[in-house]
Amino acid sequence: MTEEIINQAKQEGNVNKLKEIAVEAFKAGKDDIEEFANAAILEIENATKQAEEVSESEKSMIGNQGGTQEEAEIRTKSVEVRAEEIEKKAEEEIKEVETTNAENPKTEEVKEVETPSSAEVFNSTEMIREMTGGSDKLERYGRGYDSALNMYASSLTNKEDLEKYKDIFSQLAPEDKAKMEEGVVGQEIKNAMLNSSVPEVKAKFAQDMENYSQMFPTSVENAKMYSTMTTPNFDPKKFQEMYDVSEQQLFRILQGAKDKMIEDIRKEQNVKIHDLTLTYQELINKAPSEKTNLEKNLQWKVNEITNASEISVTRINEEYNERSKKISS
């Protein structure tokens, strides 16, 4: 793997290629530190963009008060410049660490060498945990793990790939894999529902469902349930025919989907607030003099998350009411 390949993938905006590269590195364990350095640089680049970017809620606040995006950008220009400086400096330092050893190899006489191989080092869960800061969350969302998870999602429709990369996939948490399975299977179901009047699609849908039901029975059931709430232009008759269920059964499936979606939103809300609180606690520990301001910001963000969740729950309830009316009409 060379930097050129990574740069080309970045220039082309080929995220999948980058993910593949990271997955391969994750799997093989490289003899050099290049992949880890590139992953770190990408992480910093993303964080820089995040620090610079005006969020949708901020844009909306500015717009509501008659302000302009241009003015906001002028006022935040100095932050942007400093963020770029931090990014540049960190990238240079990382490159220096990455290349120093390669430029200065040395030869020594030794009786016995008992160091772990690079593959052992980079494949060990302990090392990944150490690299990503030691927390389960970071480990789970670390670049290698995240890439492997995406690789898993793209392999779900290909049995050969599932077999080929099973050593990687065995390292993924079952609950994370389940989410990917539901996402992929759910999308297939949704697409089939949208095109169910096309005979070829209907036939393929039946075949795919049979395969998926064998491989991921729980995911298929969940995806079917969610599709009653997520498929646009809800047509109860179509669903009854596709899933071979009665009107009453369809109504219960819809209700189950609504309850589960609201439960998921509440869970996500709690996780976000929890993570945010930890992040702010860390910032407060680093800068105690900023405690009051940071606490205010935290409260503002918590309120924003809570409000967004309430809006989502209201929308789901409205959607549910409309769909249940369609079933009974």
Binding site: Q65, E80, A90, M127, E282
Partner: protein, 63 residues
């Protein structure tokens, strides 16, 4: 006794640790900058609000 080529002065673990330290520091600095940027936006919004209120006040007093 035999000769081996040690390709690195630092072990991969040491290199990874060093890179991780640099990354953590940069991410922490960027998080603080992100907060600073957010505060600038909040101040801008407050300023706009104040201008709007001032305009309303002026309009009321004129009429």
């Amino acid at each position: 006794m035999y000769v081996v080529l040690l390709a690195y002065i630092m072990t991969p673990q040491e290199q990874a640790q060093k890179i991780k330290e640099i990354t953590d520091r940069a991410l922490a600095e960027l998080r603080v900058l992100g907060e600073e940027r957010h505060q600038i936006i909040l101040d801008y919004v407050k300023e706009l609000e104040a201008k709007k209120i001032e305009a309303i006040r002026a309009h009321i007093l004129e009429s």
